[in-house]
Amino acid sequence: MLEYFLQHILSFSIWLPIAFGVAVLFTADDNKPCVTRWLALAGSLASFLVTIPLYTHFNFADGGFQFQERFLWIASFNIHYHLGADGLAVPLILLTSFTTLIVVLSAWEVIEKRVAQYMASFLIMSGLMIGVFSALDAIFYYVFWEAMLIPMFLVIGIWGGPNRVYATVKFFLYTLLGSLLMLVAFIYMYHQTGSFAITDYYEMPMPLNVQILVFLAFFAAFAVKIPMWPVHTWLPDAHVEAPTGGSVVLAAIALKLGGYSFLRFAMPIAPDASHYLSGFMIALSLIAIVYIALVALVQKDMKKLIAYSSISHMGFVTLGFFIFNNLGLEGAIVQMISHGFISAAMFLCVGVLYDRVHSRQIDAYGGVANTMPAFAAFAVLFAMANSGLPGTSGFVGEFMVILGAIQENFWYAFLASFTLIFGAAYTLWMVKRVFYGEVANENVAALKDLNKREFLILAILATLVLALGIYPEPLTNVTNATVDQLLSHLSHSKLPAGF
């Protein structure tokens, strides 16, 4: 029984939340939302528990794919139902199922309109994103990657803010454009190898000019998703308009899909092009880190500020990827996970305020710490973590990437460390204006502190942020072997003989 479960654990991780999502859809009665909420909670909890053995039964010494499942799906095109997880995917899968649980909890009494569709969207999205992280067949992966857009499109569009239609259509079309170019690359490689298996692509020799085109096709898909400057403009819009849960999933997981995919596809499939274009990628990353941080500084809207902060932090991730050393890569992965927790927590904090006052403007607040002391304590902690305070998870990843960057080039590290200053500036300035000082108006004076549900959510996230900051080893243990293997793969040229 356990044996069977472990063999199909990835399938369970994908299909269980989707099945629960469909079941939740059938409880669509807004007059009795209790059934829906509890069913959704049970579904997300079960889905989270199912993914835990991925960690406990993981073989830390093995950098390859574990828990593999493979059978023929579409014979005409040699497409397989092929799942597997390595040290890179496992933490992200756990992050996904965990975040879904948090989102379901955070929506508890906040969402009153079409509760079932809301909960179902997130459960289905969770399954689809786990599918992205564990698919080892290009088309199978692509199906999850694109299908994920549908629930997100609906979530932003139905429950979002006033400008939601613009934001959600922009989000959808931006992502679709990039993905379709990636599809063309997949089809091209299929005609070369006769297979859609990712591992076949890893072995496939390609001349440099082809590699560059393939890399750029992937770049179009992943850079939009991460998002990298200058294709980031959808993100602030989508974040601002999305409901809290939507922002949390976007920031905590959706952005990681892009980062993960760079490591899974673009870099190992086109290693020579990755080296060739690394200067370009590092330049874009540094622009994101410095310039976007400056943009964040002048934001008046809290969600927009956090959105820009996300872009800036994801710049660290791509910087870590393209300096091609162990510290950088490992740091980038830690940064992805840590940003998942911190950005989720920050958006939840904004959500807490928004639910009470219905404004996201910084100047609508002031002196919140006086009326909501417990909440202020959490918010300040997450703000510190966001600006990279040692002892929080935000520090570990950024520090590792900066150390890695120094090995490569001092100036990369020099520019990158600006984020520690700017990050602290924009985050703490926002905290100062929102939480400290005199109570600004009667809205703030009437605020009630966290209820038990909100306290629980923030407490869990705070624990994780601190735990990962003080003792990151449980995470790096999982990724070590995979990172080594990836780096050794990247150091071998794939150019065909004679080039």
Binding site: A28, W73, I74, A75, S76, F77, R114, Q117, I139, Y142, V143, E146, A147, L149, I150, F153, L154, G157, I158, R164, V165, T168, V169, F172, L173, L176, L177, L180, L181, L183, V184, I187, Y188, Y190, H191
Partner: protein, 482 residues
């Protein structure tokens, strides 16, 4: 004597359907309006009988009849079965609509059955004249159907346009055929093929004939630059007829193209490839860009059809078995999507209300979450977003074009698909993000509701398990063309 018996058996489905159509005409004379439902049953029975015969007499090889002018091969059988299924769905979806508009008469059923016979002849024709006769039988039935709502000025105008332009196209087609005949001395596709193998293929009369034939085909398919009739006819016709025009005849038109270009004029592939290429590119651009500006749902779907035809041409212009099979897969998927899409318009319409404006969909998720969800599937499928069938349709066509070496055209096509996604998303936006303006309850018969749900969910399920349909399309093409 043996020969005649064999001929008759080969064409038995056509014969039976023709007989049943006549029976419908006669029976209609003796029925009161209250008993007219029998006509509906009789028509469905006719399709069922034809399907049974086609299915049971199917053999993997090809059987030629009537001195080689008519063929019963795997492609014809597969396409005919698809046509029966599509027509049967049209009957189910349109019944209430016709009843509410005083169009529930024998003519609709008899003419539709005649058009089906025309389609079947197009699918099975092996001779230019046979093909032409099939096409005319289909076209004339459709002209009459569009004009059936006599007092409706828009429908009459649409019928007039359809007829004049359709007749012009038929004329061009016939003219092109006569030139090919003049050069090869035969009307039979196999003889034309053999004659062309032996002669100089760059002869200007041959090329001119080919141009006329392709232009005629493009008219019938509705490909740019011969698309002008499509939006007007789609918008002007009663929705039930629009659904008919937009769906099953495309299957027959596909077979028509395959028969003429891939079988008869296969040796001239280099020439017609270029023509199809230009039309494919233009259709995708004009179809997708113009659809954005539409406020009428039927008109929007008309432009969407034009862009879908562009994608089908992408598959056809690859001029390989892979390309033809992918084009067939695309067109079969398109027919399923189109039936579901128009089916939902019929579901939302009621007496005195056509539900053909985009704004009529506003807030559908609040009025009927189930219907909105069905439309959501259809729209995402048309936009080509996985895990729906539409994605695999685009996928197969694009991979065929890429295999044929059209890399940059494929990149262009996917960019256009993004533009196309915009207007499909707008429909979803209206249904899900806007508040309803119309609060009438949606009342439809149960069989329609069930059939429509199955149809829309088929888009999702075949999207998850596309192998069956892919194998079927591959089987049809490989057996017939190689």
């Amino acid at each position: 004597m043996e020969n005649i018996r064999y001929d008759l058996i080969t064409a038995l489905p056509e014969m039976v359907l023709l007989g049943m159509a006549m029976l419908v005409l006669i029976a209609d004379l003796f029925l009161k309006q209250s008993n007219r439902i029998a006509i509906y049953g009789l028509s469905q029975l006719a399709l069922l009988m034809a399907a049974y015969i086609t299915f049971t007499t199917h053999s993997p090889g090809a059987g030629y009849a009537f001195t080689g002018t008519f063929v019963d091969d795997s492609m014809s059988d597969v396409l005919k079965l698809m046509i029966y299924l599509g027509t049967s769905l049209i009957f189910v979806y349109s019944r209430q609509y016709l009843q509410q508009r005083d169009m529930f008469r024998g003519e609709f059923y008899a003419l539709t059955l005649f058009s089906v016979v025309g389609m079947m002849i197009m699918v099975s024709g092996q001779n230019m004249l046979t093909l032409y006769v099939g096409l005319e039988l289909l076209s004339l039935s459709l002209y009459a159907l569009v004009a059936m709502d006599r007092d409706n000025a828009r429908a009459t105008e649409a019928a007039m346009k359809y007829f004049v332009l359709g007749a012009l196209a038929s004329g061009m087609l016939l003219y092109g055929m006569s030139m090919i005949y003049g050069m090869t001395g035969s009307l039979n596709l196999a003889d034309i093929h053999n004659a062309l193998m032996a002669t100089e293929k760059t002869h200007s009369v041959l090329i001119l004939g080919l141009v006329f034939i392709v232009a005629g085909l493009a008219f019938k398919l509705g490909a740019v630059p011969f698309q002008m009739w499509v939006p007007d006819v789609y918008e002007g016709s009663p929705t039930a007829i629009t659904m008919l025009i937009s769906s099953v005849p495309k299957l027959a038109a596909f077979a028509f193209v395959i028969r003429l270009l891939a079988q008869g004029l296969q040796t001239m592939a280099v020439d017609w490839q270029q023509m199809l290429l230009v039309m494919a590119v233009l259709s995708i651009i004009i179809g997708n860009v113009t659809a954005i500006a539409q406020t009428n749902l039927k008109r929007m779907l008309a432009y969407s059809t034009i862009s879908h035809i562009g994608f089908v041409l992408f598959g056809l212009m690859s001029a390989s078995i892979n390309g033809f099979a992918s084009a067939l897969f695309y067109i079969a998927s398109y027919v399923l999507m189109s039936l579901a899409g128009f089916g939902i318009i019929l579901l939302l319409s009621r007496k005195g209300f056509e539900a053909d404006k985009l704004d009529d969909l506003k807030g559908l998720n609040q009025r009927s979450p189930w219907t909105a969800f069905l439309m959501l599937i259809v729209m995402f499928s048309m936009a080509g977003v996985p895990p729906t069938l539409g994605f695999y349709a685009k996928f197969t066509v694009l991979q065929a074009a890429l295999q044929a070496g059209f890399l940059w055209l494929v990149v262009f096509a996917v960019l256009m698909a993004v533009i196309g996604a915009f207007y499909y998303l707008r429909v979803i936006k209206l249904m899900y993000f806007d508040e309803p303006v119309d609060h009438h309850p949606i009342q439809v018969p149960a069989d329609m509701r069930v059939a429509l749900s199955v149809n829309a969910f088929a888009l999702l399920f075949i999207g998850l398990m596309p192998q069956g349909l892919m194998s079927l399309c591959g089987y049809a093409i490989v057996r017939s063309l190689s």
